[in-house]
């Protein structure tokens, strides 16, 4: 009897799981930020890249941990230091039925860096690369110098169709006329600020999605997004606010999915000025910039209780950080651990450095750019005050903060002394933060573009240069890890924590969480 019942239940469940994707094959997704366009080359912006990954494919894809996997290219290899060969996938069709061939790749490469009025284009990934057609399913990419990151770079470029998309304007994409990709979903409707609707591409080369129709709705207010999933108005939300995670994890209506992010939250310190504008002696008189003393920087790092930040401020949805990128990513160091919280050690270092009496400092932070950014700045200010660095907090709207933090001082130098910022590595490996945050500032080479502390160490630069010239993966990973070790040893920046990306689905669904914050509907399925 029992057995029969068990079989009956199992059959019922089996039928239910078989039927549910057919019966209720529509999914509604609550987005945290609206896309600025449907044109995949218009704006290199995370919400756009995330959304459009559902319509368009790239030659090289990134798996949920941002490791490279074949996309529209079945395989690739470096023929020599400056030439790469990509074998294209055969039998792939665009949504309008036209076949995907090398011609589409060639014209995409021409379009991506040249979209008019683009607020941030994809030229930086295509710099110094030319593409040649060998036959319909083979292309060669030639570079001016060795570019080991070429496959990573190409994993950011969405392939559009020669017949529908290459000559089209951004407006044509927004109306849907040109929004023809090879991806798992087809464009159906775009109402700016309201919704984006897609339907399944039944012929998708990567298999058919569990959904016939997807509706994305931007719900920017975090509490409203949570309410929408609790009310059953949407089936999936991204960027679950930390304050609600504890409550939602106990709620029978929803399931949570999370993974560590490619984003590190860190502090940049003024290391280039003799006298730093927001640092004074306790009585307000000018002093020499103490942040140029490594002992002071180390004392600051030791005074930061990363576990407390993670537990109390981030409510558990963060991981204490010891380097530029979480340990599982390419090119990170195995030896670096988060600096241990040690107030006594910090005080001792301050004394050694001649700052026993402490000094006054201001920490600047954006308000609303990163999860709980302003709160973290306040907490860290208190921690610093404990070791004698009397710290006041100034938080600014992101629009104001970043201008002043990058170029608010005289001669377009960074204005602040000590700032809280974050860095997400789009390429998912360590050269991205090393090049932008750590490398010596040099506009002619495009290095140090976000190095707001002006840290500079020729040894690190040399290691990064060597890494970026090395096509051998293992060697490059070693060099990047070494560069990170030297830079963190110098306290070029002080890492605080890695964010965690959290999605919530209605109970009964599952999603594969991604380190790059992309919401990929293809990975959503009934449990």
């Amino acid at each position: 009897m029992r057995l029969i019942r068990a079989i009956a239940v199992a059959t019922a469940l089996g039928v239910a799981t078989l039927l549910s994707p057919l019966g209720a094959a529509e999914i509604k997704v609550g987005l945290a930020a609206p896309p600025s366009s449907i044109d995949p080359h218009f704006h290199n912006l995370a919400p756009n890249n995330s959304l459009l990954s559902n319509i368009f494919d790239r030659l090289v894809h990134q798996d949920p941990n941002q490791a490279l996997i074949p996309g529209l290219a079945e395989s690739w290899k470096a023929v020599n230091d400056t030439t790469w060969e990509f074998k294209l996938r055969k039998g792939v069709r665009f949504h309008d039925g036209s076949p995907f061939t090398a011609a589409d790749v060639l014209c995409t490469f021409k379009r991506a860096p040249n979209v008019p009025n683009s607020p941030s284009n994809f030229g930086l990934y295509l710099k110094g690369k030319t593409v040649e057609k060998v036959d319909d399913y083979t292309v060669l990419v030639k570079t001016t110098g060795p570019q080991p990151l070429l496959p990573n770079d190409l994993s950011t470029i969405y392939i559009v169709s020669k017949s529908a998309g290459c000559e089209a304007k951004t407006e044509d994409y927004n109306t849907g006329k040109a929004a023809v990709g090879t991806g798992p979903f087809k464009f159906a409707e775009y109402v700016p600020g309201d919704r984006i609707v897609m339907t399944a591409n039944d012929d998708y080369w990567g298999g058919k999605a569990a959904w016939d129709k997807v509706t994305f709705r931007p719900i920017t207010s975090a509490p409203a997004r949570v309410a929408a999933i609790l009310a059953g108005d949407v089936d999936l939300i991204e960027d679950v606010p930390t304050a609600d995670i504890a409550k939602l994890s106990k709620d029978p209506r929803v399931s949570l999915f999370q993974t560590v992010s490619n984003r590190v939250i860190y502090f940049h310190l003024d290391q280039f000025r003799e006298i730093s504008p927001f640092i004074t002696a306790k009585d307000g008189s000018a002093i020499k910039n103490p942040l140029r003393d490594r002992r002071v920087r180390l004392a600051i790092s030791k005074s930061i209780n990363r576990d407390a930040i993670v537990e109390r401020v981030m409510e558990g949805s963060a991981v204490p950080a010891g380097q530029l990128l979480a340990d599982k990513f390419f090119g990170t160091s195995k030896n670096l651990k988060p600096e241990r919280y040690d107030v006594e050690g910090a005080k001792k270092l301050m004394k050694e450095a001649g700052y026993e009496g402490g000094f006054k400092m201001t920490i600047h932070s954006p308000n609303g750019r990163y999860t709980n950014d302003a709160k973290i700045a306040e907490v860290v200010a208190q921690m610093l005050t404990r070791i004698g660095i009397e710290t006041s907090v100034e938080t600014l709207p992101p629009a104001v903060f970043f201008r002043r933090a990058s170029a608010g001082g005289p001669d377009n130098t960074p204005e602040f002394s000590f700032i809280l910022v974050g860095w997400g590595s789009g390429t998912g490996e360590a050269s991205s933060p090393l090049r932008s945050l750590i490398y010596t500032v040099d506009p002619s080479r495009g290095t140090g573009a976000a190095n707001r502390g002006r840290y500079s160490n020729p040894e690190v630069d040399k290691l990064v240069d060597a890494a970026l010239a090395s096509v051998d993966d293992e060697k490059r990973a070693g060099l990047l890890a070494k560069a990170t070790e030297v830079a963190i040893g110098d306290l070029g920046i002080i890492p605080s924590h890695y964010q965690i990306n959290v999605w919530a689905t209605r109970r009964g669904l599952k999603i594969v969480p991604r380190t790059d914050e992309f919401t990929v509907v293809m990975s959503v399925a009934p449990q």
């Binding site: 509490p223 929408a228 059953g232 629009a399 573009a449």
Partner: protein
């Protein structure tokens, strides 16, 4: 009448011109859109390209002259964020906001005026005291909190109404509106109520004060003495005389509903103009902000004109005429 119109138009032109200068120069002082829009991974050359392409390398006065030149050709500039004409973006979102504002205004009138009059002519009744106390709550509760509570109660707990977003639309007389479908109306109720709550309280208090004062006056007493029905006394004589302040305030408030329903639109993910404005301000999308505020100034001017016209309909002693003419 013609002189009045011409004078009004000239005033309007002046207001718009002054406004555009203030907004244009004001927003140019705040931050730099390039820092927000450019991908963090972009290098210095890419930043320089964007600055050049947006014309941000020119002095502000030159940018302003270019902007005026554009307006002379009917071009309010191109959104930095969306790459589309600013005017198009705003007009696309206007119907959603207009229907939200109209629904809220309707609620304010239909609920506010009768309730206010009732409280005004029976000021000592228990119900009136409850009404007046309630109106204070309506004033003082912050919109974003009330909005979240409405969602929590009616969408999450009771499940009667959808939590966010705009429902299905249908086309009525060439205008696509969500007021024409059931799904659309269901989506409209909560945000409109949230927006209307403060307006209802305002109208209740205004009508209450007017009705209390007017009901003591001789003409009402005469009307009653003459034996007119209570319905006629209140519905015609009293109502007409207390409507002028109510119409003035509702006119202004309608402008506010149209222009600055930002909080409600954000909480309810309502795809209207207010949402566009706040997004544009946060991203420093200057062309959209400037175009938006200019359009709003025009809207206020039109509403004020309509209010003036309504005065003269309500009170024949008022003529559409300036003191000077």
């Amino acid at each position: 009448m013609t002189a009045f119109l011409i004078r009004r138009l000239m005033q309007a032109g002046l207001v718009v011109a002054v406004m555009s200068v203030i907004v244009f120069f004001g927003i140019n002082v705040v931050g730099n859109p390039v820092d927000i829009l450019v991908s963090p991974e972009a290098d210095q050359a890419e930043r320089a390209r964007v600055i050049r392409e947006f014309g941000l390398d020119r002095p502000v006065w030159q940018q302003y002259l270019l902007f005026l030149n554009g307006i002379a050709h009917g071009d309010f500039g191109r959104s930095f964020v969306h790459g589309e004409p600013a005017l198009k973006l705003i007009l696309e979102r206007m119907p959603a906001t207009v229907e939200l504002a109209l629904a809220a205004l309707l609620m304010a009138i239909v609920v506010g005026i009768p309730v206010g009059i009732y409280a005004g002519i029976t000021p000592m009744g228990r119900a009136s005291k409850v009404i007046m106390a309630g109106s204070i709550l309506g004033f003082s509760l912050p919109t974003f909190w009330v909005g979240l509570m409405l969602i929590l109660v009616f969408a999450v707990h009771l499940g009667w109404l959808p939590s966010t977003g705009r429902g299905a639309t249908a086309s009525v007389l060439g205008v696509s509106t969500s007021m024409a479908t059931l799904d659309g109306l269901a989506h409209l109720v909560l945000p409109a109520l949230n927006l209307a709550l403060l307006k209802i309280s305002l109208v209740v208090r205004l009508t209450y004060a007017g009705a209390r004062e007017a009901s003591q006056q001789d003409y009402i007493k005469f009307a009653r003495a003459k034996g007119l029905s209570e319905r006629r006394v209140v519905g015609i004589h009293l109502l007409k005389n207390i409507m002028i302040p109510v119409v003035t305030v509702l006119g202004l408030e309608f402008g506010n509903l149209l222009a600055f329903s930002v909080v409600t639109e954000t909480i309810f993910a309502w795809p209207g103009m207010g949402k566009l404005l706040i997004d544009s301000i946060l991203l420093l999308d200057r062309p959209v902000v400037v175009a938006y505020l200019i359009i709003i100034v025009l809207a206020f001017l039109i509403i004020n004109f309509v209010v003036d016209a309504l005065y003269s309909a309500l009170d024949p002693r008022v003529r559409l005429r300036d003191a000077g003419s």
